[in-house]
Subunit: 152 residues, 2 copies
Amino acid sequence: MQAHELAKPYPTVRMDTNALKAARLMTEQNRPGLIVVDDNEHPIAILPGSQVLRMLIPTYVQDDPALARVMDENSADHMCDALGARTVKDLMSENRPTLPVVAPDDTMLEIAAIMAANRSPLVAVVEERSKTASLMGAISVTQLLAAVLPSD
Amino acid sequence: MQAHELAKPYPTVRMDTNALKAARLMTEQNRPGLIVVDDNEHPIAILPGSQVLRMLIPTYVQDDPALARVMDENSADHMCDALGARTVKDLMSENRPTLPVVAPDDTMLEIAAIMAANRSPLVAVVEERSKTASLMGAISVTQLLAAVLPSD
């Protein structure tokens, strides 16, 4: 079995996607992260949910999580105000996790090796064409394990 | 809203759980990782799916993923043989990701701060009693985001 047979559609956003819209997409699709693509649908990064949370939390609380305890509920109500005015680009951190990429004809063992080497729960399947490369879909670690494991 | 209201059951394994059984639990429950608990149901670690894959791949392929390409399909068929004879303990690596822990009365902002600081898609909710501490459940980043985001 090859990557193109395992690839499934995966929600994507762009750098200029509204941050609140991205957060909603994550919850609606129940994904711990989204794939960020450029204008040519080429995956350039992964946006983890924990990075969205980072935007919601005042810097002084990030530095000392114990301070969260003394904030009142009203502050929590306004946690999300910051998201509406930002984009995905604002959420991306410098040391973001890499999104490993495989080719459509990569084998299960190749995919497993790349996923294991990157300690990633997801790989993007990218089809390289003459001048462009586009996202065909993604393979999660559970999908790959299900394909690899012998039947009962 | 507090952690105990958000906590949901999460699949757990023990150090002596059969590795193949753990891998099947991951695929059946469609989770990218499992919580490893000790004999007192206290969470001690997280077992990521990518770590299970690592066990399936010959060391020389881990060192050079390009070698996976030249392995024949028969080798892939036997990839899972190793799992049946191993336990979760064998799958755990030294530099495994930490599983952040929150208390049942922690607020959404506290949970968000801990998740963001640990760049983790999951926190365990642990109830400390006089002498023991047990796992109440877990909160995923999508659950937390859904609770925090304002309604449309």
